[in-house]
């Protein structure tokens, strides 16, 4: 059994590598044969070479660092705001009922539409980035926290209550641990949204550093498109790495809860 699983995993890596290499070859061939104009879409090899060069470019690395910092701070603030808010809404139905219409009106407002307004309000670009991230990434965490609390085993709660535990300690000892995997999934989804918002804010709101700013500046240089795509590739890698880190963290922390975490992916 172990051996077959291992072999399957091996072939997954091999297959994936073949898939990636295949697409790169097709893109390269299409560019070289003139099927796609290299002005519109640079050769895959050129993009990869550029991306490799960017990895050692101190200026670009500083931009990646700036985006990462904004993302991390924004996500941290979001968690600090959304989890307690979700706990309150999830455990006090009266408040949840009262605020539900408000949430339903706020949630559909497309986050990027707020960037022009935020441009007026915030003089500091990092503050603005964090504010945009908090607005957009609050919802998955908030909703998942509320749902997670709803799913708590009532028997466990009643048991603690009969032993004389108060509301707060039931929340702390039963509800929070039981909802934690849901909250973690919400945070993972929010992390992806936060990265998109960080780069969008840099692209639309302007600023002096960040991957988005790098892309805007690169556009005006002669081989701008290649640089833009190379930078975007690194943005994708950043997204992949952070997501993988969250998945790995969830598996480690909630291994006792693996069936549920697996289902929520």
């Amino acid at each position: 059994m172990r051996l077959t699983v291992h072999r399957a995993l091996e072939s997954q890596i091999v297959c994936g590598a073949i898939g990636v290499a295949g697409l790169l070859c097709i893109a390269e061939a299409a560019g070289r044969s003139g099927l796609i104009s290299t002005v519109q879409f640079p050769l895959a090899s050129t993009v990869l070479a550029n991306a490799a060069e960017l990895a050692t470019d101190a200026e670009f690395l500083a931009d990646v660092g700036a985006t990462f910092l904004g993302w991390a701070l924004g996500l941290l603030v979001t968690v600090l705001v959304a989890v307690p808010a979700g706990l309150v809404l999830g455990s006090v139905p009266a408040i949840e009922r009262a605020l539900r219409p408000l949430i339903e009106f706020l949630r559909p407002i497309p986050s990027v539409a707020l960037i022009p307004l935020a441009g007026f309000i915030f003089s500091d670009r990092l503050d603005m980035k964090i504010a945009m991230i908090v607005y957009a990434s609050t919802w998955p965490i908030l909703i998942n926290t509320i749902y997670g609390l709803r799913d708590v085993d009532p028997l466990a709660k009643e048991t603690l209550r009969t032993f004389g535990f108060g509301h707060l300690s039931v929340l702390w000892r039963v509800s929070l641990p039981s909802a934690a995997p849901f909250i973690a999934t919400g945070i993972r989804v929010s992390a992806t949204i936060a990265l998109i918002l960080a780069i969008s804010t840099e692209l639309i709101g302007g600023g002096s550093d960040g991957i988005g700013t790098f892309i805007i500046l690169a556009e005006s240089s002669p081989d701008g498109l290649t640089l833009t795509i190379a930078a975007t590739v690194w943005a994708g890698v950043l997204g992949l790495l952070t997501n993988a880190a969250f998945v790995w963290g969830e598996r480690r922390i909630f291994h006792w809860h693996s069936t549920r975490v697996g289902a929520a992916q």
Binding site: G19, L99, P116, L117, G239
Partner: protein, 263 residues
């Protein structure tokens, strides 16, 4: 029935309270960046709703921008839905194919869509094509992953039964796999619809018409009530789209919820 409706309205008590607090607070602040809601509503009326009743009070600016935006949004959504479901079902039914292109789609999903705008601008230049491409690329992933997930988890018994009755591949697809994956696909489509609105706004920031462009124009003109108005308009649009989708979903999946006995 009437008491139910009254109870529903009663639940909305928080809305007028918030509006009044907002109005009072902004009037007290007198800050140019935070106009009172009454000013915003008047500005929205000026911008879009000065038309004749025959046009439902929409004026020419509104009619020149809203349908374009909405058309592109829905166009991108439909394209993403068709490609996403087709590809997703293929991936869900073929583990081998999934192994080959899983890293590619993981990477595609991780790419922040706004960063791809320069690429799409170079490929299609400014216009509907570029906007639909941006929207489609940005929103296809939830549909794709959900369709793949739904197709992968079809009840094996149903598939074996279909094999025993010698159903053709086509019948198996339309009568077994698609209906069984439908709830998941709809969940993906709903998420994509709200994402489509976000990407529509981004794509229109870089264009010459549409609601997103108008938002950008009011921002450049330092017309703060106009900026607030555009944001509220987009919020209303998002709310209506979501409600319309829920109605559609309830119709399409009515057999599903009734057969399972749960909503």
């Amino acid at each position: 029935m009437i008491s139910k409706f009254a109870a529903y309205l009663l639940r909305l008590w928080v809305v007028p309270v918030v509006l009044i607090v907002w109005e009072v607070a902004t009037r007290a602040m007198e800050h140019p960046f935070f106009p009172p809601p009454s000013t915003i509503v008047l500005r929205m009326r000026e911008l879009w709703f000065t038309g004749p009743p025959t046009q439902l009070w929409f004026n020419d600016t509104a009619l020149g921008n809203f349908p374009h935006s909405l058309g592109r949004l829905l166009g991108g959504w439909v394209v993403a839905g068709l490609i996403g479901v087709t590809l997703g079902i293929m991936l869900g039914r073929s583990p081998l194919l999934f192994r080959f292109i899983d890293p590619l789609i993981q990477f595609g999903r991780a790419l922040p869509p706004p960063a791809l705008l320069p690429l799409f601008l170079a490929l299609f230049s400014v216009g509907t094509q570029m906007q639909v491409a941006t929207i489609t690329f940005g929103i296809i992933w939830p549909v794709l992953f959900n369709a793949a997930d739904g197709a992968r988890n079809v009840e094996p018994l149903h598939l074996e039964t279909s094999r025993a009755f010698k159903l053709s591949g086509r019948q198996r697809l339309f009568e077994i796999i698609l209906p069984s994956a439908a709830p998941k696909i709809f969940a993906g489509l709903r998420l994509s619809l709200s994402l489509a609105l976000i990407l529509m706004v981004i794509a229109e920031f870089f264009s010459t018409e549409g609601i997103g462009f108008q938002l950008r124009a009011t921002q450049r003109a330092f017309d703060l009530p106009g900026v607030w108005g555009s944001i509220i308009l987009l919020g209303i649009l998002g709310y209506l789209l979501n409600q319309a989708f829920l109605v559609l979903e309830r119709r399409a999946l009515s057999w599903h919820s009734s057969s399972k006995g749960t909503a």
